[in-house]
């Protein structure tokens, strides 16, 4: 098993699936769907294998030796002349406690999204080809340890997403798709700039002792690798690290999406087909926060320390603002979308706390929000498939008509409002504990607690509007859940409950990495202090 490149497998297996799909005749829709489900299923299995082989004690983050399942070989190697530095880019995959939860999340959510895509009937072939391509992109983002590779995967997602929204989406799909595309592309050009800037600021020392410019993010985290002249080098008194940090942060913030860059989200969600909304909210949003934790924090610890309060502030704004916006929505899907904005705010708040509990809470919240919001979107999809509208006020009293559906929805909603016993509670509690424990952002943490009140407000209100009260005449024919829908919802429900009762299952996974990153940030504060950065 050690020699089997399982990360490459889990990343590129969907591509294989895509190629097969492309060669299948477009009439064999069932086969195509089945194949996709199978491929994603294999991914889940692979993820399980990874989990079973994963060593909980290793930290990762900035220490190459403690990364696991590392696959590293020279990808691009260009021997330059004297006056031109050689370019060496690695194909460098590896996972630590930060990536594993995301990897699991991606595998699971994609699998479930694949199942939920079964209802697609319009040019099936194209859909599933795009779907699988997207899958590879997402998986790659979470396992890549080379900035260049990461960027390739990051961009790889855009196009499939554009088509998936634009072709199979709702009435205003073109608009939503282009909006999504533009926003994210705008974000990624910032990332690209920083990437190149970093490339010229740090030099990695190879085995043979030669120093070369590098995209290796682990090397980029080590101040020893920086040169005095690099524009993004902390040793360079006239460096542009601050601007670069902002650029990188905006790049990721657009994905999160952080206020005020969030406006693509509601449109994209509302227009996208159910499965895609699930993936969008379940996985893509996490990439923003993941990116911040993986790149902004360890590569720019100095600036992070300077700006930490603002990160927390925006987290708070996201929480309150998203919740208030959600409260005013009439469209079921929009409401869920805004709730995502609010919940991602918790993640940012937790990240800003810079202590184990807070960051652990943030990562856990990423995972939990992934599962919960996926479930919510699936549920919206269920009702939309039946009623073909999403207007909250149009419903009412569905509890008697579709009791099982109501049951699942109730669980999901309660999870979303952080009810103890369900997964989100622990993560949100940890976020608060962490944020409260970090003196600079304590006040923000206190204000943010309003978020859980508002959350309860709009969620319960929605619950009431849709399910409680007396049943409207026209809905008394809606059937309850089908087998396929059970298949999608039950796993998520189980995960949500399980993690609510036994969060250690996930926390232990990330614990050592969390400690590692916290230690790294603290050390960095001292180190950079000694460098006279602060």
């Amino acid at each position: 098993m050690e020699h089997f490149p399982i990360l490459s497998f889990i990343t590129f297996f969907p591509i294989v699936g895509m190629i097969i799909v492309l060669f299948l005749p477009k009439t064999r829709t069932t086969l195509i769907k089945g194949l996709t489900v199978f491929v994603t299923g294999i991914q889940v299995v692979a993820a399980a294998v990874i989990l079973s082989l994963y060593d909980y004690t290793l930290g990762g983050i900035n220490d190459p030796s403690t990364f696991q399942f590392i696959e590293k070989f020279r990808w691009i190697e260009i021997e330059g002349f004297a006056w031109l530095g050689t370019i060496k880019i690695d194909y460098f995959l590896g996972i630590d406690g930060l990536s594993v939860p995301m990897l699991l999340l991606t595998a699971i959510v994609t699998f479930i999204a694949a199942i939920s895509s079964w209802s697609i009937d319009k040019s099936v072939k194209g859909y599933f080809a795009m779907f699988l391509l997207l899958d590879t992109g997402m998986m790659g983002v979470f396992v890549a340890l080379d900035f260049f590779l990461f960027y390739v995967f990051w961009e790889l997602m855009l196009l499939p997403m554009y088509f998936l929204i634009g072709i199979w989406g709702g009435p205003r799909r073109e608009y939503a798709a282009i909006k999504f595309f533009l926003y994210t592309l705008l974000g990624s050009i910032f990332i690209l700039l920083v990437m190149i800037g970093l490339y010229f600021s740090a030099q990695e020392t190879l085995a043979d002792g030669t120093k070369v410019f590098t995209f290796n993010i682990l090397a980029l985290m080590d101040t020893a690798n920086y040169s005095e002249i690099g524009i993004l080098s902390p040793l360079n008194p006239a460096n542009l690290r601050f601007i670069a940090y902002l650029a990188l942060f905006i790049g990721f913030a657009i994905k999160i999406p952080m206020f005020p860059f969030h406006t693509w989200l509601p449109d994209a969600h509302v227009e996208a087909p159910t499965a895609i909304s699930v993936i969008l909210a379940g996985i893509l949003l996490k990439m923003g926060t993941y990116g911040i934790l993986r790149f902004s924090y360890p590569i720019f610890p100095d600036i992070t320390h300077q700006l930490i309060w603002y990160i927390a502030l925006f987290g708070m704004i996201n929480i309150i603002y998203g919740a208030l916006c959600a409260m005013a929505q009439k469209d079921f899907k929009k409401l869920i979308a805004y709730s995502s904005v609010s919940h991602m705010g918790f993640v940012m708040l937790g990240m800003a706390s810079l202590n184990s509990i807070g960051i652990a809470g943030a990562i856990l919240q990423m995972f939990n929000h992934g599962t919960i919001t996926a479930m919510l979107f699936l549920l919206v999809g269920v009702i939309y498939d039946r009623a073909h509208i999403r207007d909250l006020d149009a419903f009412g009293g569905l509890a008697n008509q579709m009791p099982v559906f109501t049951g699942f929805t109730t669980v999901a909603f309660f999870a979303a409002i952080g009810l103890p016993g369900l997964s989100a509670f622990i993560s949100e509690a940890f976020v608060f504990v962490g944020a409260f424990g970090y003196e600079p952002i304590r006040a923000l943490a206190i204000i943010s607690t309003l978020g859980i009140l508002l959350g309860a407000g709009y969620m319960l209100w929605t619950l009431q509007r849709v399910f409680l009260g007396s049943l409207k005449e026209k809905w008394n024919t809606l059937p309850d859940l089908t087998f396929r829908e059970y298949a999608m919802l039950i796993p998520l429900t189980l995960i949500i409950i399980f993690l609510g009762v036994y969060p250690s299952a996930m926390l232990d996974l990330m614990n050592s990495s969390v400690n590692q990153i916290v230690r790294f940030m603290d050390d960095a504060k001292i180190l950079y202090g000694s460098l006279g950065i602060f």
Binding site: C325, A360, P420, A429, F436, A456, G457
Partner: protein, 692 residues
């Protein structure tokens, strides 16, 4: 009988109802009789709890049994799950189990024929589980968790008949108002955690007694205490968050009896009891004031309400306020004692009202009742007994506990000079007696005011009456003390319930709580010493005057009730007219709901609407506005609009399009024009760069 066994028992007690819940929920559709299973498991845990209490009091009366397992490890800190059995906890669990069991039995008949029969019992199971969790847990995080869980189960049960808008509204209101309190509590928990890096009560208290304080200041200790108390304000429906409880009466009556009279609302009191040791004097004083207000205001409201359950609801709030006030003035023992006694007779009252409502075919307005005495004698008898008990007439449990509380306030007055609590205490006692008997008289005495309803009225079946009888029986003195006039002679308040060692720094306490030397040695003229010698003295000096006074006021209240409603010597309506403003205030519940709706609710919803608009209009296109304006003015952007998108993007697109348009303008198609432009640009370039 080893400690481990007790722990096992308590775990069983805790989880059996949960199992009942899950089973009843999952198979409720399939098997119609599944509720029986739920009842059985509950009965088992009831039996276990009896054994538990017996064993605890018999063998480990002075020791606290704890056991914990590690739950989460993050960074350096670990969080445990644990159980802590002290006398208070076991007594509380017993109370919970007794009432829960009785309510179950009562419900079997009361809820018969409901479409979601099994679901109902499932929820009851969930509640029982969460409530026992609150009681048994040994750390405040778990307590918070179960705190939320009871909130949810109460939400589910209040909204059980969700077809009624009022029901679902009430449920939502209850949950959200509770959440407000919980946020405060959460903040308190966070304060504790960041200070002591643990959630476990004992560890926290130990560190406090070692003088470790939040931010090293007693002020912050006070704040922390009050923040945690916020949780109690929410759950125990204390002023100003009491508004949810009356609405909660939308739920089935047995639920009101179990949750909103006996147990869950008492959880707030229980919380204060649990953290009593870390409450500073200032904190206690504020708590006392809040308790006082909560005791007084609802009592005045209860005078004029006509819905039988609402009257009881307000009396519940008022009684809870009583307990809180008692804790505030340091009458720890009697506060908890009153919690127990009140649990029984208030449950009895609610179930009685349930029986009445059942008998009257879901009629709740007392103006349509009257004379039911003959129709449902048993219900009447039990109801009467409990009313006597709550009014504080001797020979009842209520007398004992209430008298103790009044004595406490009295003593507090004498020690600190704050007599207000005592005065309010007695006033509320009188009001209580008055409105309770108003209720009794209007319901059971006199002539039936609604004939046909009266004709169809009937006594409830045995399974409903039996719980009433049991609870009424529990409202007599002899369960608690041999001496009907003095609880201090009995075992409950002397042996079982003991005030804890105060761990707050000396100078942050009430004076009378400061430890003086004499307090250490055993008893003072037969009484166990609580806190300090002079406090104990003061309490016992206060005892007899308090007792007499309370008898007086209770009698007065009852008398007035009879005068007005039984013998009609005074016309109630005339009285109402005479003091119109007062009457209105009371009748309209001091306009709390209106005020809150006007301020907070409207505020929030308004803000959210505003922000949503903001989001749509402003964020989604800072210059969308200008873009639209220009769209109006310019001819092309209509065409342009469907090429690209709105919002901020729209603006960028608009701008880009505009620039593009400028560039397009050059492309006239006339080659000579191009050449002229080339010449011009040559000139310009030359001018630009000749300087460089």
């Amino acid at each position: 009988m080893t400690e481990q066994l007790l722990i096992k028992f308590s775990i069983l007690i805790l989880f059996l109802p949960l199992i009942g819940f899950i089973v009843a929920l999952l198979f409720g559709k399939r098997f119609s009789r599944i509720y029986l299973f739920e009842n059985i498991v509950l009965f088992i845990s009831f039996v276990l709890s009896v054994i538990l209490v017996y064993a605890k009091l018999a063998y480990f009366i002075d020791s606290t049994i704890t056991s914990e397992i590690q739950w989460i490890t993050v960074g350096s800190t670990t969080i445990e799950l644990g159980i802590e059995l002290d006398n208070i906890a076991v007594l509380m669990i017993l109370v919970v189990m007794i009432i829960s069991l009785l309510v179950h039995l009562f419900s079997i008949a009361y809820m018969k024929g409901d479409s979601r029969y099994n679901r109902y019992f499932a929820y009851l199971g969930l509640f029982t589980f969460s409530m026992s969790g609150i009681v048994l847990t040994h750390n405040i995080l778990m307590m918070y968790i179960f705190w939320e869980l009871v909130g949810i189960s109460s939400y589910l049960l209040i909204g059980f008949w969700y077809e009624k808008k009022s029901a679902s509204d009430a449920a939502k209101k209850a949950f959200i108002v509770n959440r407000i309190g919980d946020i405060g509590m959460l903040a308190g928990v966070l304060m504790l955690f960041i200070t002591y890096d643990t959630f476990t009560f004992d560890k926290i208290f130990d560190q406090i007694s070692q003088g470790i304080l939040p931010f090293n200041s007693e002020f912050w200790l006070t704040v922390t205490g009050l923040l945690i108390f916020c949780g109690a304000i929410g759950k125990s429906a204390q002023f100003p968050l009491h508004v949810w409880l009356p609405d909660a009466m939308e739920g089935p009556t047995p639920v009101s009896a179990l949750i909103h009279a006996a147990t869950m609302v008492a959880a707030g009191v229980y919380l204060v009891v649990k953290v009593f040791t870390m409450l500073t004097g200032d904190a206690l004083f504020i708590i006392a004031i809040i308790g006082m207000l909560s005791a007084l205001i609802p009592a005045t409201i209860a005078l004029t309400q006509n819905d039988i359950k609402r009257v009881l609801a307000y009396s519940t709030v008022s009684q809870l306020g009583y307990m809180i006030m008692a804790l505030g003035v340091g009458a720890f023992t009697f506060a908890f004692f009153h919690l127990i006694t009140h649990a029984f007779f208030k449950a009895c009252l609610f179930l009685g009202s349930g029986s009445v409502i059942h008998g009257m075919h879901h009629e709740q307005d007392i103006r349509n009742m009257g004379g039911l005495r003959k129709k449902m004698p048993l219900t009447y008898a039990t109801f009467l007994i409990s009313s006597i008990a709550i009014s504080g007439v001797p020979l009842t449990s209520g007398f004992l506990s209430k008298d103790g509380i009044l004595a406490g306030t009295f003593a507090f007055g004498s020690l600190t000079g704050h007599w207000l609590f005592a005065i309010v205490g007695f006033l509320v006692a009188m009001l209580t007696a008055f409105y309770m008997f108003r209720l009794v008289i209007l319901t059971f005495h006199g002539e039936p005011r609604n004939k046909d309803k009266y004709d169809h009225a009937h006594e409830s079946p045995f399974i409903m009456v039996m719980p009433l009888v049991v609870l009424a029986g529990l409202s007599f003195f002899f369960w608690y003390t041999p001496n009907p006039l003095d609880a201090s002679k009995g075992w409950v308040v002397t042996e079982w319930i003991k005030p804890p060692q105060i761990s707050v720094p000396e100078n942050a306490r009430y004076d009378f709580m400061k430890t003086d030397i004499l307090a250490q040695d055993g008893k003072i003229d037969g009484y166990p010493v609580s806190y300090s010698q002079k406090y104990t003295k003061a309490v016992h000096q206060a005892h007899y005057p308090a007792m007499l006074l309370s008898l007086l006021v209770a009698g007065l209240g009852i008398l007035m009730a009879f005068v007005i409603y039984q013998w009609k010597k005074l016309d109630a309506d005339k009285l109402a007219l005479k003091m119109k403003p007062l009457y209105n205030i009371s009748y309209n519940k001091w306009y709390f709901d209106e005020i809150y709706d006007a301020t907070f609710v409207a505020g929030t919803t308004g803000l959210s609407k505003l922000l949503a608009k903001f989001d749509l209009k402003v964020i989604d296109g800072i210059v969308d506005g200008s873009a639209t304006v220009t769209r109006g003015t310019s001819t092309f952007s209509g065409r342009f609009d469907n090429i690209v998108v709105d919002g901020l993007v729209n603006f960028m697109a608009y701008l880009s399009g505009f620039i593009g348009l400028i560039f397009r303008r050059f492309q006239t198609g006339k080659v000579q024009t191009y050449i002229v432009m080339v010449i011009f640009s040559l000139v310009i370039l030359l001018f630009i760069f000749k300087s460089l």
